[in-house]
Amino acid sequence: MERFIQVIVDGVATGSIYAALAIALVLIFRSTGIVNFAQGEMAMFSTFIAWGLYAGGVPLGLAILTTLVLSFIAGMVIERGLIRHFEGGETLTLVIVTLGLFILLNSLAGWIWGFGNRSFPSLFGDSTFTLGGVRLTVESVGIVAVLLGVVGVLFLLFQRTKIGLAMRAAALNPESSGLVGVRVGRMLMLGWGLAAALGALAGVLVAPRLFLDVNLMGSVLIYAFAAAALGGFDSAIGAVVGGWVIGISENLAGTYVDFIGADLKILVPLAIIFVVLLVRPSGLFGTREVARV
């Protein structure tokens, strides 16, 4: 029983990381209708920057904070410099461009930092504590707390501030919001910046649990996709719930289903995406798409 609870808690913690990346995907999808395939690699790149700063002697907390700011700026630059040109184009074009960015960032990171792996320190140390007879790591609890904090901040930003209102308006109806004075382009840049920073956060949270190398986010991205699809791709709450469901089921399947084990865990999110999209294409929390002829 103790093991079962540990598996669940661990699943929620991993799921929270997926959720962070899934929210980043949702942010961009909501504002620009793009599924950003490069989201994971952007996060990996950021994580390497955090590692570089830390290895250069900057305290871990400050290194991560600096990385978040840098990622925010880089996200805005990518939107303005690259994606803007293709916005409103065909899905295929955008998929190809973001995939190009995916491959480019992956190889650039390999070029700069090499293809070997390195360990990344956890923000929360590696201490444990016992709660109701179950041994839990501070890290797991810390990750969940960080995610909940982020969701809270995003909620306040989008629901209680003028800029959040403008961002929502720009996403919902770019033309009309442009007419009433919302600077749509700026809002899209802001959305990409936020998403990049969120991705960076997911990166520095997941890196201590895996090893930091150029393929750090490969499978995480698939899990995040599954989480976002499960949640409906346009709902942040959906992404969180989706992330948890994916994290828990992945851990349960990896631990208790022998055939799956560690190396086939990747099939779990795939199966989940499949089933969700077949049974309920708009996800658990998503808005149903209506086509106009």
Partner: protein
Amino acid sequence: MSERTLRVVGVWALVVLALLVPFLFGPYRVGEFTLVLAYAVAVLGLNLLVGYNGQISLGHGAFFALGAYTAALLIEKGGLPYLLTLPIAGVVAFAAGFLFGVPALRLRGLYLALVTLGLAIAFPQLIKRFDGLTEGTQGLTVEQPTAPSWLPLADDQFLYLLTLLIAAIMFVAAWSLMRSQVGRAVQAVRDGEIPASTLGIDLARTKTRVFALSAGYAGVAGALYVLAIGFVAPEAFTVTVSLAFLAAIVVGGLATIVGAVFGALFIEFVPDYASDVNDALTGVVYGGVLILFMYLLPDGAVGLLRRIGRLVARRPAAPAEAGRRPAVAPRGRGLPAGKA
């Protein structure tokens, strides 16, 4: 010369060049060109799906691997003659594509891309998991075809010409299919699902069949690859393969037949030269090329050739065509797009 004549001349020039290859280069180079042909078949298959039908698959490396392993196992463990394994590999991949396609094609655009990307990631793991059959990471060595004694050809030349013959059949088949009523239906689905369905096109059936067909092409290509290399191992079929195929259709030109050849040349030779400079350069080039082509040449090498052809034919392009098109897929040109 009219544009049409130019096009015919261009295609025949390509055919003649392809026939000359085994007599102009040494065995190593000829082997590389044999691989180019195998890749070209896979790239063509993916282009039927992506370019002509507007669906996105990031997992065709998996069907390529399936075809490769089918052929390898049939030759090594089943003792079948190698020529027989080609159609079987095609049929197996076609069936797998069909089974995968039936549920997957209810997913549109992005979701299909996601699911197929997952397939590409999971497939090498699956190969390793069934190591009793596939020998796992060790891989399988496959006996390569040898030239029959009555032919005055070396083994590498024979293998190249054999691959060329099969590739040519696959190319002609795809070309005529895309010119037919079926091909027009396939493209109509790409250009607008709802209008296409009002014209009586069964969307699900069309998409599933194109997906299966394109998987079948990848399967045959996988079998050709095994014959060319004589070895299969799961490491050869990582996600990179699927992404390389996608890069190849972008380079060659979306919704073109001949583009597959240019794309295949690109993915065979560029990584070779790039990795001499730096291991990471291949990826940088692939990524950069995907973005740059979308930026500057959204209709790829064939699109560029068409523009040059138009200049040579002294027929000024219509303004709508000369300007940069917002869409990727060349469309609405009155001409069947299959005439590359």
